[in-house]
């Protein structure tokens, strides 16, 4: 390629990405930088136009009073991702290798969560409350809805349901790239189907499975209505819920901003890892 041609290509690239880049700077980079700035101010003084800078005061409040919030924010999605791992990979395997029928129903079911967490949380919440579908179970076992709702397990269950499709998506694309002959050989050598799955398929699909695991974790970090509805007052102590409460209801934007910065850092680390493992956009 001649010099002139390559410099023309450079100009073309620049011209094409410039509008989007400008937009990205204005509506992503500047707002994010602005949260960082806002996190050093007292209450809503920043939005009022006369910022009162308090240094790292907001962060020290967070690292004394909100440690449990941060812990829950990480632990709930992590456990949910583990559940997805156990439930999702066998499903992905059965679907990819066409070992079960009803594929189209399952395929449709796997799109639902793309609609948003509002339906998953609202639907599950209604199902578990009295008058839902578990009434017969409640009357037989003597349990009531409080055994199921408004505790950390309910939040984790909601998260797991919401992100199961992502797990199936990632692991199925990894499994579909494994050559059938590996399974045939392992079966010929006397492994049972379950052994083949655990000792041959899972190790070969590991990169895709890890990517799916991190993706599930990352999606649930931003989950809001699932912990709010299923966790109730006692167990909705996660960062997203606290950020909305602190900002829109209590108007302590400084504190909310510093919590948002910490959440953003956790999310960016996990999405960077997904990006690195899946080699998206390559």
């Amino acid at each position: 390629m001649s010099n002139e041609e390559s410099s023309r290509a450079k100009i073309t690239v620049l011209m094409l990405i410039l509008p989007t880049l400008l937009y990205l700077v204005l509506f992503w980079l500047v707002p994010v930088a602005n949260i960082f700035w806002m996190s050093f101010t007292l209450r809503d003084t920043y939005l009022q136009g006369k910022p009162n800078y308090v240094g790292i005061n907001n962060y020290s409040i967070i690292f004394t009073d909100f440690l449990e919030t941060i812990r829950n924010t990480i632990v709930y999605p992590l456990v949910a991702a583990l559940i997805d791992l156990v439930l999702g990979i066998p499903l992905a395997y059965l679907l990819v290798r066409k070992k079960v029928g009803f594929t189209s129903i399952l395929r449709a079911a796997l799109i639902f969560p793309y609609f948003g967490d509002i339906y998953v949380s609202y639907g599950l919440w209604n199902m578990f409350l009295p008058g839902g579908i578990f009434d017969p179970i409640y009357s037989i076992t003597g349990l009531n809805y409080k055994n199921f709702l408004y505790n950390p397990n309910a939040v984790i269950f909601g998260f797991a349901v919401f992100t199961l499709p992502f797990m199936v998506l990632y692991s199925s694309s990894a499994i579909s790239q494994i050559d059938m002959s590996y399974e045939e050989v392992s079966m010929t050598l006397g492994y049972t189907p379950v052994e083949t799955f655990l000792k041959v398929i899972v190790p070969l699909a590991t990169p895709g499975i890890i990517a799916g695991f991190i993706a599930c974790f990352g999606w649930n970090l931003g989950g809001y209505l699932i912990p709010l509805l299923l966790g109730g007052v006692d167990s909705s102590n996660v960062m997203t819920v606290k950020i909305v409460e602190l900002s829109l209801r209590i108007h302590n934007y400084g504190l909310a901003a510093s919590l948002a910065i910490i959440l953003l850092v956790i999310t960016l680390i996990s999405s960077y890892l997904t990006f690195k493992i899946t080699k998206a956009l390559e």
């Binding site: 990205l24 079911a109 799109i111 609609f115 199936v168 998506l169 960016l268 999405s271």
Partner: protein
């Protein structure tokens, strides 16, 4: 033994399918029934009739905003997808990661950040323009990914031939790229539309209650009036709009491509 394992297999997928589908179906069920002390009474469309014109207006607003956001997303995503698929340049990996980053930003974080700059600097707080620009900022990567994937598999010779024959870049775009990429464009369009009409968190921060959107109304109704049939009816309407968009999309583009699943 063989029968036992196949029963187990179908039990497993039946349970998973039930867990995934039932929340959505139960919302519909709640919208057409009423629970009394003696049992469950079928109410038909009564709860839908209870919705005031305000709700239908909010649905209309949601659809208008969803369509505009999807169109805007296309113009933001296409040039970047094209450059990433067709050109090599230094630091390409980092640059592509930066373009995708907004997708991974939690809505609460994007919301509080956009709210801050809208109030302090841009003067877009509580406006239609602000809501649309804000929604587009976190959704355009959803459009970018399918466009990139299709451009990557599309032979560049189609464009090169058109260029050699003297077509202008605009003409190549309109008569070669757009028709060949139609499935990907369509899939990006539906995904971003569905994503926008169901997003309640960003508008909650950006509209300041000045624009009625159905997802936002639904969110606050679910929070405060969650057990009323009217709320289930409201959720059903938004859900139905989403179902329809996805259904037509699957019909037109083939199921396999629609889900991006490998089966």
């Amino acid at each position: 033994m063989k029968m036992f394992s196949s029963i187990l297999k179908y039990l497993y997928i039946a349970i998973l399918a039930f867990i995934l589908i039932s929340p959505f179906l139960f919302i519909f069920y709640r919208a057409i029934t009423y629970r009394t002390s003696t049992g469950t009474e079928f109410t038909g469309l009564r709860f839908f009739m209870e919705l005031t014109p305000q709700y239908w207006n909010a649905l209309l607003n949601s659809i208008i905003i969803g369509v505009i956001v999807a169109i805007l997303d296309f113009f933001l995503a296409f040039p970047v997808a094209y450059v990433l698929a067709r050109y090599e340049f230094p630091m390409k990996k980092i640059i592509s990661a930066i373009f995708i980053a907004p997708m991974f930003t939690p809505d609460v974080v994007a919301g509080i950040g956009l709210m801050g700059v809208f109030i302090r600097y841009y003067g877009l707080y509580g406006t239609w323009v602000g809501t649309i620009l804000g929604l587009a900022s976190t959704s355009y990567p959803i459009m970018l990914l399918p466009l990139f994937a299709s451009l990557k598999t599309l032979d560049p010779d189609y464009e090169n031939v058109a260029k050699t024959l003297g077509a202008s870049p605009a003409r190549v775009f309109l008569t070669v790229l757009v028709p060949l990429l139609a499935p990907a464009i369509f899939s990006g369009f539906v995904l971003t539309f569905v994503w926008s009409i169901n997003n309640y968190l960003l508008p909650l921060f950006l509209t300041g209650g000045a624009i009625d959107l159905l997802a936002v109304k639904l969110y606050s109704d679910v929070r405060w009036w969650g057990l009323l049939g009217r709320v289930a009816a409201e959720a059903s309407i938004l859900q139905l709009a989403t179902f329809l968009a996805v259904f037509f999309y699957i019909r037109l583009s083939g199921e396999k491509q629609a889900t991006g699943l490998a089966f």
